[in-house]
């Protein structure tokens, strides 16, 4: 029995959350340090996972398996493939930065008196973030569908409180209106995702029923089902498979989010603090796209092939629509949110292109988008904290007073528009190539997203950072050391992944090959090869 | 007893005779009429009586169906005890007022009609659908006597249920007692305290004035007259007021009285005395007699009775005074 590394990776933030929450109300700073330590420990564990993972080895590694609810065939089964490893690492590495970025976000506002000894917003904030981390990591490593489902849904609880309970400092003068907006956003987030989750629950139960014919009885184990399918022991009726696929897919599409079930994201990201917004889009939403790759494709290959045309069209709409709406936004954070919708379109496009380039690209995209959005959004958050407004029109000429802030913002933006040399370029290009080889028209349409991305990023940069300095901003401080310490590593990672993405591709590519063989697809041959 | 045996022979037969049919067709309409009366009568007492009638008829049907014990119990328990209980409560709650049958909930009548029709039709359809067949007859089951047969079942197969119903009855009795019992949580006030409270509140301390029983009319529903001739509502029981059964004092009578007094005065040749004697029941003359000196012959109750027939002079009648207020 080897050391249960994956369980440890899940437990570390969970224990950290409890410890953070337990810090007495007066010792705010202690809570922050506890949280940071816990997240760093998690990051170290995740990197250990990354190191222990052998790219060429078994599909699922570091597996753990224990009976949990034997009556229903539910097991506590953990395991990571290359895709999961990448995302676990992304999550664990991002969280310390988010904690660092949100260091003062949940402090009591000036003039606010504690409502009692139990009033501990700071502790709560960081504990909730750690809770989310634990649940997200669990969703990535769970190979039992039921186990996954539980954490997929439970994630909503801390997220709900993070969105509804901790808004950014913008527009404090209209606190009531803002609180109302925030509650609206939180409820919307919850309802959308709950709706998806319930549909998925039905599908999970359906799956349980559909696997009843297996010799070992019903099971939720991904591996067992996949093996049974491969050996022909288990076959789904066509309609059953399609309905089950839809049940899973709708839940993941809402989480991802895919047009037209995307509208919760701009509200949620707009109203929450920058770190939480990053948490939503960079970490939590990734569970959706990850699960598409792992569950939708892995469990229901034929239904996936059946749904592909529709999904591709929806993804294309997401790409263009998200980008166009980003252009139309007046609120910085909402702009970034819509840009994320566009990017999720790319990820889903890559997944359903069913080529190794597309899916490897999509996985890389998940990681890179996480980092790039984090960089852009966190800097935007720093900016918003300084000025107290999210409106783009309230800024101008920041470049002059805070050049480093503007510079990091620009780099984040350039990464968002997938400039070569930054990580997102590699992934976007892979997605597009992979899509093009199978669906040329889709590949070309998606290219419109590239142009629009340049437009919205540069318009955002131009309106906020350039031009004459607005008088309100003339005394704006540049990035503080803490903020720089948060942003600089992110930028370094972006550039590293853009220049040398091999560590990731080496891990991800074999996993994608497994997924593709699940689906029974192989890359289209080049025209010349095919002719020979 | 002879009817009983006749009925029992009826029930014992497997194929029913024409006699039972006659009985049924006579009694059943009455039962239905009773049921309808129960729900349609405005006065609850009538409802109760209608229900009792239906129950008696049902008891007869029980007997006809060979359930002698039940038939008797029906009469004794239901018609006897339960209905009496109903009537008691009715009296307690107030028997007088007839219910208004006007519907207050919107759509309730329609819903009731639809439901009644639907349920009725469905039940009858259900009965029609079931293969009812014919009577097997209870001759065998009642061979040892109906009561014995029931008893042997009750104390063997239904023993537990029987015990439980016993418990239920006990609980019901205790519960009813608990519910209706009112715990005395304050010390009861003494007579003295009550009197003091009355004085303090300014309510009538002495007994109320009597009605015009001895004045002119020999009845309790005629108000007594105040010294100035106006009738006083206080003198009549409030129940009569509520029932609207208070009789008017006719104005001719008053006028005749006044004329009589006048004639007497004229005859005696003396002026009408200004000293209107106050009714003995009245404590003070509240309003001053502003018409002193005018000719108002106040007829006083000669009999020394507390209540006097105050007579109102038509000429100066603004100082109407209510005695005992």
């Amino acid at each position: 029995m080897s050391f249960p590394l994956l369980t440890a990776t899940v437990l570390a933030p969970a224990i950290g959350a409890v410890a953070t929450a337990a810090v007495p109300s007066a010792r705010r700073n202690l809570a922050k340090w506890v949280a940071l330590t816990a997240s760093l420990v998690t990051a170290v564990l995740a990197i250990l996972v990354l190191i222990r993972f052998e790219p060429g080895g078994d599909r699922y590694q570091l597996t753990e398996s224990h009976a949990w609810i034997p009556a229903f065939g539910v097991r506590y089964e953990l395991g990571v493939d290359g895709i999961a490893v990448a995302l676990v690492a992304l999550t664990a590495v991002l969280i310390p930065f988010l904690i660092g970025a949100g260091w003062n976000d949940a402090d009591p506002k000036e003039g606010e008196t504690p409502a009692g000894k139990r009033w501990r917003p700071t502790q709560g904030f960081f504990a909730l973030i750690l809770m989310v981390e634990a649940m997200v990591v669990m969703s990535f490593v769970a190979t039992d569908i039921f186990l996954f489902y539980i954490f997929f849904e439970a994630m909503l609880i801390p997220m709900y409180f993070l969105i509804g309970g901790f808004g950014d400092r913008a527009g404090e003068h209209s606190e009531n209106g803002q609180a109302k907006q925030r509650t609206y956003a939180a409820v919307k987030f919850l309802l959308y995702n709950l709706a998806g989750g319930l549909i998925m629950l039905a599908a999970v139960i359906g799956l349980y029923v559909a696997t009843a014919d297996l010799p070992g009885g019903s099971t939720f184990s991904l591996q067992a089902i996949a093996e049974a399918r491969a050996s022909g022991e288990l076959t789904f009726a066509q309609n059953t498979e399609r309905f089950l696929f839809l049940g899973f897919f709708i839940a993941f599409a809402i989480k991802a989010p895919l047009w037209p079930v995307h509208t919760w994201l701009p509200n949620a990201m707009g109203e929450s603090t920058a770190p939480v917004a990053v948490l939503i889009t960079a970490v939590v939403d990734k569970v959706g796209t990850f699960a598409m790759l792992r569950f939708c494709l892995g469990l229901f290959p034929e239904a996936s092939a059946w749904a592909t045309p529709v999904v591709i069209v929806l993804a294309l709409i997401s790409i263009i629509y998200g980008a166009l709406l980003a252009l139309g936004q007046r609120d910085m954070k909402r702009l970034i949110a819509y840009a994320s919708i566009s990017h999720f379109g790319f990820i889903i496009l890559g997944i359903f292109a069913m080529t190794s380039q597309g899916q490897t690209g999509a996985t890389l995209y998940m990681v890179n988008h996480g980092i790039a959005t984090a960089a852009l959004m966190l800097v935007a958050g720093f900016l918003i904290t300084r000025r107290g407004s999210r409106l783009i029109a309230d800024y101008g000429g920041v470049q002059k007073t805070a050049p480093i802030l503007a510079g990091t913002f620009l780099i984040g933006g350039l990464a968002t528009l997938s400039l070569p040399g930054t990580g997102p370029f590699v992934s976007e290009f892979l997605v597009l190539v992979g899509t093009f080889t199978r669906y040329p028209v889709a590949g070309i349409v998606a290219c419109a997203g590239i142009v629009l991305a340049a437009l919205y990023v540069l318009i955002l940069y131009q309106r906020t950072m350039t031009g004459p300095v607005r008088p309100e901003l003339s005394r704006m401080p540049d990035l503080r050391p803490r903020e720089l310490a948060v942003v600089a590593p992110l930028i370094a990672m972006l550039i590293f992944l853009g220049v040398f993405p091999r560590p990731l591709t080496d891990i991800v590519d074999p996993a994608v090959q497994h997924t593709l063989s699940d689906v029974g697809e192989s890359d289209p041959e080049p025209e010349l090869e095919a002719r020979r | 007893m002879s009817t009983l045996t006749a009925l029992s022979t009826l029930a014992a037969e497997t194929s029913t005779s024409g006699g039972e049919a006659v009985q049924f067709w006579i009694l059943a309409p009455i039962a239905v009429a009773g049921g309808l009366g129960t729900i349609l009568m405005r006065r609850a007492v009538y409802s109760a009586l209608c229900l009792a009638g239906t129950m008696v008829i049902l008891a007869l049907f029980y007997l006809a169906n060979g359930a002698y014990f039940l038939g008797v119990v029906q009469i004794v328990v239901y018609t006897g005890a339960v209905m009496m209980l109903f009537l008691f409560v009715l009296m307690l709650v107030g028997v007088s007022a007839a219910d208004s049958l006007k519907e207050t909930i919107k759509g309730q009548r329609i819903a009731t009609a639809a439901m009644g029709l639907g349920l009725g039709i469905l039940l009858i359809a259900g009965i029609g659908q079931a293969s009812v067949g014919s009577f097997t007859g209870l001759a065998e089951a009642n061979s040892q006597g109906n009561v014995e047969g029931l008893a042997s079942l009750l104390f063997t197969r239904y023993m537990v249920a029987f015990e439980v119903t016993g418990v239920l009855l006990t609980v019901a009795a205790v519960g009813a007692t608990m519910l209706t019992h009112r715990e005395k949580i304050e010390r009861s006030t003494s007579q003295r305290e009550q009197a003091e409270a009355r004085v303090k509140d300014g309510t009538q301390v002495p007994p109320l004035p009597a009605p015009g029983v001895y004045a002119r009319h020999n009845a309790v529903d005629i108000p007594g007259l105040l010294p100035d001739g106006t009738p006083s509502p206080l003198t009549v029981s409030s129940t009569l007021h509520e029932r609207d059964q208070v009789r008017e004092v006719h104005t001719e009578a008053l006028g005749a009285l006044a004329a009589l007094e006048q004639r007497t005065a004229d005859h005696q040749g003396r002026r009408a005395s200004v000293s209107g004697s106050l009714g003995s029941g009245s404590t003070t003359g509240g309003a001053g007699r502003t018409d002193a000196g005018t000719t108002t012959p106040a007829a006083t109750g000669i009999d020394g009775d507390g209540s006097d027939n105050g007579r109102r002079d038509d000429g100066d009648g603004d100082g109407a005074e209510e005695a005992g207020k």
């Binding site: - | 049921g35 359930a67 409560v89 219910d99 439901m115 009644g116 029609g128 014919s134």
Partner: protein
């Protein structure tokens, strides 16, 4: 004479009782209507008893009577209580059970 006649009568009485429950506001009359329904059921039970030639139906009816008696006792007590506190025996006056 067929059992159906009795059963039809029982059904009719039952329906009448049900309508009474719905139509009347006086709690006591409502109660009486319920009694009518119970009696209708009893009639059916007794008929069944004779139909099948055993006494179980009668036993059922007997239990129904007992329970009805208990119910009447408690129910009337409640009515008295309600009347005491609200000075009304109308079931519509106790209409606080709503949103």
């Amino acid at each position: 004479m067929s059992p159906e006649n009795y059963l039809h009568l029982a059904a009719l009485l039952f329906t009448i009782g049900a309508c009474g429950v719905l139509l009347r506001r006086n709690a006591i009359v409502v109660f009486m209507s319920i009694e009518l329904m119970l009696n209708a059921a009893n009639l059916a039970l007794v008929t069944f008893s004779r139909m099948h030639g055993n006494l179980d139906g009668q036993i059922m009816a007997f239990f129904v009577m007992v329970v009805a008696a208990a119910e009447v006792v408690v129910g009337l007590a409640i009515i008295v209580m309600v009347y005491r506190s609200r000075h009304s025996a109308s079931v519509d006056d106790a209409s606080l059970m709503k949103l």
